[in-house]
């Protein structure tokens, strides 16, 4: 394995949940929350992961850090911490890493959460919250940690004195900054950001997005940004992966995806984004039918076919494989070559 590999490479990741019923907890069915998903992330880039609720994007994000143990697949991370001094980084599979390795890996991959209210322990003050990673990993002495917490808080736009205050004294945007400071404490190289701005007001959302961009520029951080808001994802992602009912349906660079979406679901998703322009918003046609089907019994064939206006017979029986249409642009649609989809490029 060479050092030139991607920072993170996910191969055929799957996560099944077993539904249990009754007193004896018998297995009553499986939910394929994540179904054979593959992608990679390079150093310093942002990969956006979009889809509607229940598409498996959050489970994917948690599986990357093994907060949810994956059912199958590999999650290869290029670790410098686990490599020997002076040697090339070592590729390690997060899915099968030992507890010890995992703890070291935590320094290199971190997560920030959607809900800035429940992700901070209300009984701990901000200083304790932000220094928790340092305490757990036993980094530095007590006073060094305190200084570090101060500088971390300042780097996310808060005051070092805020360390003595409690989460409920802060607004939503400020809490999200605290969560980011905690994630930054270990100087990770990859941060999984799970809907980091969707609980925030519009004017605060921009502040947090700016902070993420600044941090990326300063530290060369890589992000996996999980979000349902396409405009947000487009704004800070280099490449975007679209998920539907546990499967990856399209993956491309942001520009390519918007200029020539290849999957009808991507098109529908883009068309549904509300645009703050009365004339364009009213003129547009959002022709997506019906609701997202239940994840416990997804449609046979292409999961999307009952809602797809282009669907043909083959879509009802055969599941489309993911194939590369252009370099770096993959799509899982039988009809990708035959149908003409709208462009959303500027």
């Amino acid at each position: 394995m060479t050092a030139s590999a991607h920072l993170l490479e996910v191969r055929n990741l799957s996560k099944f949940f077993t539904l249990r019923k009754g007193m004896l907890q018998r297995a009553a069915g499986h939910v394929r929350a994540v179904d054979d998903v593959s992608f990679f992330v390079d150093d310093g880039e942002t990969l956006g992961l979009v889809g509607e609720s229940g598409c498996g994007k959050t489970t994917t994000g948690r599986a990357l850090l093994r907060l949810v143990p994956p059912s199958a697949g590999e999650i290869l991370f290029k670790s410098t911490q686990l490599a020997r001094e002076g040697e090339a980084p070592r590729l390690i599979d997060v899915a099968t890493a030992t507890e010890k390795e995992l703890k070291v890996l935590r320094r290199e991959m971190q997560i920030i959460f959607q809900d800035p209210f429940s992700s901070l322990n209300p009984r701990m003050n901000v200083g304790q919250i932000v220094s928790e990673p340092l305490d757990v990993q036993r980094i530095g002495r007590q006073d060094e940690r305190r200084d570090r917490v101060g500088s971390l808080l300042e780097s996310v736009g808060l005051n070092a004195k805020d360390a003595r205050r409690y989460p409920h004294e802060f607004s939503g945007g400020q809490r999200q900054r605290i969560g980011i400071a905690r994630a930054l404490a270990l100087e990770p190289r990859l941060i999984v950001a799970d809907e980091p701005v969707s609980a925030l007001d519009a004017s605060i959302q921009a502040q947090v997005l700016n902070l993420m961009l600044d941090l990326q520029n300063e530290h060369g951080l890589a992000f996996v940004l999980i979000a349902h808001d396409l405009a947000v994802v487009r704004h800070i992602s280099d490449r975007i992966a679209v998920m539907y009912l546990g499967r990856l349906v399209e993956l491309a660079s942001t520009d390519a995806l918007f200029e020539s979406p290849q999957h009808p679901y991507t098109e529908a998703l883009m068309a549904a984004v509300p645009i703050p322009d009365p004339d364009r918003e009213r003129a547009k046609d959002t022709g997506l039918l019906g609701d997202v089907p239940s994840a416990t019994s997804p449609p046979v064939g292409c999961h999307f076919h009952p809602r797809c206006r282009y669907a043909e017979d083959i879509c009802k029986t055969e599941s489309p494989p993911l194939r590369e249409i252009q370099e770096g642009h993959t799509v899982a649609c039988h009809l990708a070559d035959t149908i003409e989809l709208r462009s959303f490029g500027s």
């Binding site: 959460f113 990993q137 969560g179």
Partner: protein, 277 residues
């Protein structure tokens, strides 16, 4: 606003907390406080109605009721205090453990506690007393064990919800181990609901302890106990109804005070109150 200051502003809670503390002080100093020896019989002084000499009168053996009531405070305080402690320790440890570990053991324990919870406290206590024998120790064990299912349930519930909380996931994401999470995140969430439940269990235990004694299944005579005293008094209702007053009133005050303290603590510690304040 802090919990202490919220509690302090609750006048009723404060007064009842003082009353409860007062009762425990009485319990501690009972032998010195009692004007007479609680066990001293005097055949010349049977059934004296309340007077300056015997504020609550004397009973069928000529014993001073006031002194007996005071010493009984000590008995009740001891029994219920130790029983609550037993239930808290066993229930909290058990509940936290099964809640955190989960799996088969958890479902087994929870099914068992669910089953035990459908039996009223006094029935469970009666069963255990039947086994352990009617004595002070037996009553303590019976009452303590009868409350354990409640605490297991509570501790497990809080542990489960804390375990699912995002801040625990965040802690796992920075590499925190099981012990760190239990100590730093789960234990702090669990302590206040347990304290509230313990205070709310106190009146139930006081009632059950005196109920057992009333039935003759609790503390045995001649040890003074409110329930047992009430049971004895019932044969002399026609002639000496004043015998009811002392133990009845004490029971009422103890139960009222502990109920009010429990309610006040619940209000002060509930998350709703802290988010509004």
């Amino acid at each position: 606003m802090s919990i202490v200051s919220r509690f302090k502003r609750d006048r009723v809670g404060l007064v009842s907390a003082c009353a409860l503390v007062g009762l425990y002080l009485v319990a501690l100093t009972a032998p010195w406080l009692a004007p007479y020896d609680a066990g001293e019989t005097s055949l010349r002084e049977v059934f004296r109605p309340p007077s300056a000499e015997h504020l609550l009168g004397t009973d069928q053996f000529g014993r001073d009721v006031l002194s007996r009531v005071i010493v009984a405070t000590r008995v009740t305080a001891k029994i219920t205090g130790v029983a609550v402690l037993l239930a808290v320790v066993l229930g909290t440890c058990g509940g936290m453990y099964v809640g955190y570990v989960g799996g088969r053991l958890e479902s087994l324990v929870m099914r068992l506690t669910d089953m035990l919870l459908i039996f009223p406290t006094i029935m469970l206590a009666i069963v255990i007393v039947t086994i352990a024998g009617p004595s002070e120790g037996g009553v303590i064990v019976a009452l303590g064990l009868s409350q354990v299912p409640k605490f297991i349930r509570l501790a497990r519930g809080v542990t489960l919800s804390a375990r699912e909380a995002l801040f625990v996931e965040a802690a796992k994401a920075v590499g925190a181990g099981r012990w760190h999470i239990l100590r730093r995140h789960i234990w702090p969430s669990i302590s206040s609901p347990i304290i509230v439940q313990a205070t709310l269990s106190l009146p139930i235990l006081v009632l059950s302890a005196s109920g057992l004694s009333f039935l003759g299944l609790g503390v045995q005579p001649p040890t003074p106990e409110w329930g047992a005293m009430l049971n004895e008094s019932k044969d002399f209702l026609r002639t000496s109804p004043y015998l009811l007053a002392g133990p009845g009133l004490c029971l009422f005050v103890f139960v009222l005070a502990s109920n009010l303290v429990g309610d006040a603590l619940q209000d002060a510690l509930s998350p709703r109150a802290s988010s509004e304040g």
